[in-house]
């Protein structure tokens, strides 16, 4: 059983920023990440709205910088998913990851959110064979092919524009008749000659064999059905918070986000929640980082009050 002052569940932008702050306050800090370190940002091609990078920055590179900065101050990263979280009788917390037990005096849950699936026939079977939730990972395999993007938000437009580098045509399938994406992304998408918009339409089925061949579409206003031959379908239809680890510990809102106050405190002393998994998050990298800093500062206050100052102050 390993012991830490602060355990951080999730190594995305929020968790890594929390780790920078926690480790820099000389608290023994561990971060659990079972998937890609950096979270959503790691698979973003160019981040254009994070301050300090006037010409944009590659998401993967930025995520690696967050990680290096956290490790520089002594934060440890366990590359496994935290499976369970519970409060012990003495007020500390138990985190289990890959069968190992970790005890922490305070926990910050920054588990983020996961891209939603369409939930239609063919989606599961054809994942990795043309069904994708990561354009920057997979778009290059569809050089010169026609592909589809489902969704109308920032992620859908951003990734759709990225896919036009490779695909001959990108069909945007959206269930409404207008986009939800920010103005600048809408302008770019409409101005892109490879982007083609199909409004008021949903995907009923994804068909294929060794790879995606066509989509069964349905117009939600007229009920008219059609098929669209494509080699790939990229799905960006919103997110669901990864709050399962918090169930039974913390109250969740109707959308499954954890309820916290402005200091990222939950109703459980010593348990903090920040980033996309909390209620009313702005879901931007800069606000995620801000949340992480706030949560770490709150955790530090909690530790100082309950357990006193850090055992040793690093002097490097």
């Amino acid at each position: 059983m390993k012991e830490y002052d602060i355990a951080i569940v999730g190594g995305g932008g929020t968790g890594l920023t929390a780790a920078i702050y926690a480790a820099r306050s000389a608290r023994k800090t561990v971060v659990f990440e079972g998937r890609v370190i950096g979270g959503q940002i790691a698979t973003t091609d160019i981040v254009e709205n994070y301050p300090g990078f006037p010409t944009g920055v590659n998401g993967f590179e930025l995520a690696q910088s967050f990680l290096q900065q956290a490790e520089r101050f002594g934060a440890e990263v366990v590359y496994e998913r935290a499976e369970s979280l519970s409060r012990r009788n003495d007020g500390t917390f138990l985190v289990v990851a890959a069968g190992e037990e970790y005890v922490a005096k305070a926990v910050i849950v920054t588990a983020g959110a996961e891209y939603n699936k369409l939930g239609v026939p063919g989606e599961e079977e054809l994942t990795g064979r043309g069904v994708s939730y990561c354009a920057t990972c997979d778009a290059a395999f569809f050089q010169g092919e026609e592909v589809a993007i489902v969704g109308g938000g920032d992620a859908a437009m951003d990734e759709g524009i990225f896919v036009t580098r490779y695909a001959s045509k990108v069909h945007v399938i959206h269930r409404r008749d207008e986009l939800r994406a920010s103005a600048i992304l809408q302008e770019r998408a409409f101005a892109n000659p490879k982007m083609n918009f199909t409004w008021d339409t949903v995907v009923d089925e994804i068909r294929g064999d060794a790879q995606v061949r066509e989509l069964a579409l349905r117009n939600v206003k007229t009920g008219e059905t059609s098929t669209l031959p494509v080699g790939a379908i990229f799905i960006f239809i919103g997110q669901t918070p990864n709050s399962h680890i918090l169930k039974g510990l913390v109250d969740l809102d109707a959308g499954g986000h954890a309820l916290v106050d402005l200091q990222m405190r939950t109703a459980v002393p010593g348990l903090f929640v920040a980033g996309d998994v909390r209620t009313q998050a702005a879901r931007q990298l800069v606000s995620a980082a801000g949340d992480g800093a706030t949560a770490a500062i709150s955790a530090e206050h909690y530790l100082a009050e309950r357990y006193g100052a850090p055992a040793e102050i690093r002097r490097d």
């Binding site: 698979t43 993967f60 990795g128 990972c137 997979d138």
Partner: protein
């Protein structure tokens, strides 16, 4: 010491299909962020399974033939072969503990 070797379209048959040992192949490309995170895990596994499994990586940008023959449309993808047959395919980034389980299952 690095024990993961490069495999290409040309060396595929001799290195992977006709290998006396089971093989694990990591399909990657330089532009793929998650691939760069899989690489160190594959490296660690290659040390742990040294002498039992041979580990290879294939750059999908430089080698179009094998990836398209195997229908690879997403990377990172890991494939495990035994006696020239494909035993398991892992698409996307997975933690080391899961990769180990899949490898053990494919070997047994």
């Amino acid at each position: 010491m690095s024990t993961t070797r490069e495999v290409t379209d040309t060396t595929w048959e001799a290195d992977v299909l006709k290998n006396d040992l089971p093989t694990l192949v990591d399909f990657w490309a330089p532009w793929c962020g998650p691939c760069r995170m899989v690489a160190p895990i594959v490296e660690e596994l290659s040390e742990e399974y040294s002498g039992k499994v041979n580990f290879f990586k294939m750059n999908t940008d430089e080698n179009p033939s094998v990836p398209s023959k195997h229908g690879i449309r997403s990377i990172p993808t890991l494939m495990i072969f035994k006696d020239g047959e494909l035993k398991d395919t892992v698409v996307g980034f997975r933690p080391k503990s899961e990769l180990k389980k899949r490898l053990e299952a494919a070997l047994s």
